[in-house]
Amino acid sequence: MSSIAISAPPRRKPAISLPRIVTYAVLIGGAAIMIYPLLWMLMSSIKSDQEIFSNPAALPNDIDLSNYFTGWFATNPSFTQYYINSFMICLGAVIGNVLACSLTAYAFARLEFPFKRTLFTIMLLTLMLPSHVLLIPQYVMFARLGWVNTYLPLIVPKFLATDAFFIFLMVQFIRRIPRELDEAATIDGCSSFRIFTSIIFPLLQPALITTIIFTFIWTYNDFFSQLIYLTSPESLTVPVGLRTLVDSSGGAYGQLLAMSALSLIPTFVVFLIFQRRLVEGIATSGLKG
């Protein structure tokens, strides 16, 4: 072993090697391709409609924000209402997921009860269940309740812990919290509910933040269920409102792209602030970003 160490010359990598250059070239070129469509949309949104076609790829001649103004008010009601609806639904969904999933996760991670393993398996199986197979009966039920065109069909399910992803995430997290904490509290006479509220829930904070971020992004970007449950003009959210604008804007691509670009900002801001957490969330639990 030592003879090898002596005989082999100290290996130094050259500062710039050919494979290294290729690596950077591919990475930079790839990054440019990835980001170009988004930049193109942003640039087009500040061009006039003629310029979008006469000068599609390049920087705009001058900055014209009128597309944002006309686009915002192109629909009736305006995008103000769509954003209010979107954010209200996101808020409800976030609260629902945080409360219901943490309660469920605590029971699965810490308490003993009959059929625990079976129920846990069932919970995991629902992860693979395509929502389309539940769609028609759920729609009929919500329609009979008079919930169509309200926030309720999009929020109430979250209060019933239907997002198994987050339950699983939290169960994994709670299992890493030392049991001694619960046991000490039990000896002090704390009930399970007390243990949950004053020990587990506060310590669960990192998993809760991941849950909040992903619930927000998924709910905000969700199109399918909002398309189905929200049809009256006043109830529309940003994604369904954008679709309305697609149908009504005709050749006015500038305002369409302006509203599209604008609608990406909330997700983009969350991405900028929580990038590390998003990456961790995906890497550790396989959450689909």
Binding site: P37, T104, L111, F196, F224, L242
Partner: protein, 311 residues
């Protein structure tokens, strides 16, 4: 002896009582989940199974028609067959290409590059935004007749068609949009690559392995579990793709049904034609297709996924 016996006698009811109390408390915690499970999952699952054997339009009571819906699907309905074909092309092409690009970029990023955080962010961002209506709108403009892609091609004297409205090409623009969103798979790959022990690479180097051999014989086998994980998730999610096809085709699945994703056809049947029995049957077949693909993936994984020597 007798003291012990009395201990057991007095203790048994107490532990039983405590256990009972804990059971009760556990079920209290699980109350929301049970509610959701029964009202929003199990109930609808059974209800849609029943509806799949009926004609149902929400106005009249469901009318039992036996297997008619399923027979129609596979024998009479050309649009259903088209939807299946389109979806299979999308999944079988989109998922492997998405994973290959994700793995390729992840391997490059794993070479201790400078600016890792920035690169990772730029590559990840599209997959975070990609499912949105806004990005689908953008894609429609980019690949449209006078879109930026064709403007670019015209610089080289190529007179390209409108990619979105040409039946041969429209689906491939959606596959491309799917590939563009490889970021989350890439991040999972990157996490997997960082777990590969360095000793293995050093050992391979001593044996004289080059870059490609190290990748082929060390990296690839070691990350097969991650590839498998991404593959299973990718297949399940891609079968349910909807937004891109809906927005790019304006809800029609056109041109000539060339982008008629399975879920898009299900939506049309259920919510434009109000053939809700048929849509329920389609939902169940989708569940069976996804289940079959997932089972196939797990079965095949025994042949190529490497979980270390201990298994």
């Amino acid at each position: 002896m007798s003291a012990q016996a009395t201990d057991i006698v007095t203790d048994a009811p107490r532990t039983a009582r405590r256990r009972k109390r804990q059971n009760f408390e556990a079920y209290l915690f699980l109350l929301p989940w049970f509610g959701g499970m029964i009202l929003l999952t199990a109930g609808p699952l059974l209800a849609s199974l029943y509806l799949s054997f009926t004609d149902f339009d929400m106005l009249r009571a469901p009318n039992w028609v036996g297997l008619t819906n399923f027979v129609d699907m596979f024998t009479f309905d050309p649009r259903y067959r088209k939807a299946l074909q389109v979806t299979f092309v999308y999944v079988l092409l989109g998922v492997p290409l998405n994973l290959m690009v994700a793995l390729g970029i992840a391997v490059l990023l794993n070479q201790k590059v400078r600016g890792l955080g920035l690169f990772r962010g730029v590559y990840y961002l599209p997959s975070l935004l990609g499912g949105s209506v806004a990005v689908a709108v953008m894609w429609r403009q980019i690949f449209g007749g006078e879109g930026v892609v064709n403007q670019g091609l015209s610089l080289f004297g190529i007179d390209a068609p409108n990619w979105i409205s040409t039946p041969q090409y429209a689906l491939y623009t959606l596959v491309l949009l799917h590939i563009w969103q490889f970021g989350s798979a890439m991040i999972i790959f990157l996490a997997g690559l960082q777990q590969v022990p360095n000793e293995l690479y050093e050992a391979a180097e001593i044996d004289g392995a080059g870059r490609w051999q190290k990748f082929r014989n060390v990296t690839l086998p070691m990350i097969t579990p991650v590839i498998f994980f991404n593959l299973v998730l990718g297949v399940i999610n891609s079968f349910q793709a909807f937004t891109s096809a809906y927005i790019v085709s304006g809800g029609s699945g056109g041109p000539a049904d060339s982008t008629l994703f399975y879920t898009l056809y299900l939506y049309q049947e259920g919510f434009t034609s109000f053939r809700m029995g048929y849509a329920s049957a389609m939902g169940w077949v989708l569940l069976l297709i996804i289940g079959a693909f997932t089972a196939l993936n797990f079965w095949a994984s025994r042949r190529w996924v490497y979980y270390g020597d201990d298994r």
